[in-house]
């Protein structure tokens, strides 16, 4: 089907050191959806996003994107690899890892340059995205001179210059002050209204309630235990307590 973006089928993943990250996870993502991957620390949320972005590959089971199985070979094949990178972007939790260029404008130009766009297109995209996020004043600054909130905005801007249809966001609200967090939620809503598919890994329940419609809940044994509407998942205190997303005290308080 044309609107099917990701199909994850019975995926298992173990890191080289032997630590299990994912255990029999299956779900699919359709165009325009806003999905939360919920789970406690170490439940495999980030690994799942890495698999969706083709940075790691499943030991067992399959991850298909736009109808093609993600593998080292498929991501080395030029037409698919370029189109995949153009369509899917990944916001890392650690902005220091994401922002590797010497200046903000170079950071924003990195993606479009890899897509081999013309010089004029690269410059236009950089200017447009700087204006969209209202960060023109940061244009010539080195990333290490930015605050955490500014770094997050620049990291997001560096993805938007590729014009992705799908955004994978790893703990996007972590370490942000309330105003920046609110701005981020509103901006993600704006992107969604413009047809961008969002997959957000987080354990910030208020943030996912604000920004997503569907939730996939990962348990501490790295399996997916629920795939339902976000509101439904967040209303189920027993479920949240069983996967260590809220404390037993909060369950009792809810009752």
């Amino acid at each position: 089907m044309r609107d099917l973006i990701f199909e994850v089928a019975h995926v298992f993943f173990t890191y080289p050191g032997g630590s299990v990250a994912l255990c029999d996870v299956s779900f699919s993502v359709r165009a325009g959806e806003r999905i939360a991957i919920l789970g406690a620390n170490g439940s495999g949320k980030s690994t799942l996003l890495h698999l969706l972005d083709g940075l790691h590959f499943a030991d067992c089971g399959s991850v298909r994107a736009f109808g093609v199985t993600l593998s080292e070979e498929s991501l080395e094949t030029p037409p698919f690899s370029r189109e995949f990178r153009r369509n899917v972007s990944f916001l890392f939790q650690n902005s220091d890892a994401q922002l590797f260029c010497a200046r903000v404008d170079e950071e924003l130009a990195f993606g479009p340059l890899q897509l081999r766009l013309s010089d004029a297109d690269v410059e236009r995209r950089v200017t447009d995205v700087l204006a969209l996020l209202r960060i023109e004043h940061l244009c010539e600054r080195p990333p290490q001179m930015l605050s955490a909130g500014e770094q997050k905005k620049v990291a997001l801007a560096s993805l938007l210059t590729c014009g992705p249809r799908v955004l994978l966001l790893d703990e996007p609200s972590a370490g942000l002050d309330p105003r920046t967090r609110e701005w981020l939620a509103e901006f993600l809503d704006l992107l969604h209204r413009n047809g961008v598919t969002l997959v957000i890994a987080s354990h910030d329940l208020d943030f996912v309630a604000q920004t997503t419609d569907r939730a996939i809940v990962l348990a501490e044994d790295h399996s997916a235990v629920r795939d339902c509407a976000t509101a439904e998942a967040l209303a189920d205190a027993e479920l949240l307590a069983s996967v260590n997303l809220i404390s037993a005290a909060r369950v009792a308080a809810r009752r």
Binding site: L55, R85, S89, E123, C162
Partner: protein
């Protein structure tokens, strides 16, 4: 319920507190991190202190003009011409807003080290000529390993000229290089060098090194502070050394993990190993004026040097 020993201690009291000297390794780490932090902050903020007319020049023009001047200085022979070049460069540095104080370490350090390097050339063992100062009279049969020494080891007049030329050349070249470094943002300098033909991969590595030096320094400072916040009173030099070694190991592991994350972030944005850079803007009139002036001054110096020989 907290265990009974928890909080069972006297509140801290500063009265009659003996003065404790910090161990050498701890002092060393503290000073090294502070100096590195200051150096990096100076790197980030120091460029703005220079005069706008020079710091705003296109980095390519700056590098090209400076390269022409360095080439000219390397070709000069007459001490007078080298002296004129030196005076001109000092005047240029001052007009760029760089103070005497900032130039002083360069004026002391570069001549001193280049003099140490060239010292043997002042002796008649290396440079023959009229002896002006006798250092040693080893006699006619003296040897130094496989070399036979002359009866008198002395400083010669031609040797001093060679040494003077070398020291002046080194000082002039260092002053020129420093002028560019002190007035140009690192990112602009790297991109300028890249556009002048430096391999793109090398340029990217340089830019990333500069970027992550700050990140790793911050990690080292935070580790040091975390350690200090849990240190109590005296510590032995041995324990400090052990901590230092462990800290270096931990920092290395963190940098390795960060490098892997950075590589994934690059792959995620379509990087396949081929470095691509943005199109460069044309060099403005001020840049061309600087390049032309630098080349004209260089040619003038070489001609004057040739005529006075």
């Amino acid at each position: 319920m907290l265990p009974e020993w928890y909080g069972n201690c006297e509140p801290p009291c500063g009265a009659d507190m003996p003065r404790v000297r910090l161990g050498r390794p701890r002092q060393l780490v503290r000073r090294a991190l502070a100096s590195l932090g200051e150096a990096l902050a100076r790197e980030m903020n120091g460029v703005g202190a220079s005069a706008p007319w020079f710091s705003r020049l296109d980095a390519r023009a700056k590098v090209a003009g400076t390269a022409a001047l360095i080439a000219a200085v390397s070709l000069l022979h007459a001490p007078a011409a080298l002296g004129v070049a030196f005076v001109g460069l000092v005047a240029l540095s001052l007009s760029c807003g760089l103070s005497w104080r900032r130039m002083m370490p360069l004026w002391v350090g570069v001549p001193l080290f280049s003099l140490i390097i060239i010292l043997p050339a002042t002796l008649n063992v290396v440079t023959d000529g009229r002896a002006i100062f006798t250092l040693w009279q080893p006699g006619t049969a003296a040897r130094l390993g496989p070399w036979r020494l002359p009866p008198i080891v002395a400083v010669t007049a031609p040797g001093l000229v060679v040494a003077g030329r070398f020291v002046l050349r080194a000082t002039d070249c260092a002053l020129l290089t420093w002028l560019v470094i002190a007035t140009t943002e690192r990112s602009a300098l790297v991109s300028g060098l890249r556009r002048l033909g430096m391999p793109r991969t090398f340029g990217m590595v340089l830019a990333m090194m500069q970027r992550y030096l700050a990140v790793l320094l911050r990690a080292a400072q935070e580790t040091h502070l975390a350690k200090l916040s849990r240190s109590m009173g005296e510590s032995t030099a041995r324990s400090e050394r052990r901590w230092l070694a462990a800290g270096m190991g931990s920092l290395f592991r963190r940098s390795q993990r960060l490098a892997e994350d950075v590589h994934q972030a690059m792959r995620s944005r379509g990087f396949t190993g081929e470095v691509r850079t943005r199109a460069s803007e044309p060099v403005g009139p001020a840049g061309w004026l600087w390049v032309t002036s630098a080349i004209a001054f260089s040619v003038g110096l070489i001609v004057a040097d040739h005529l006075t020989r």
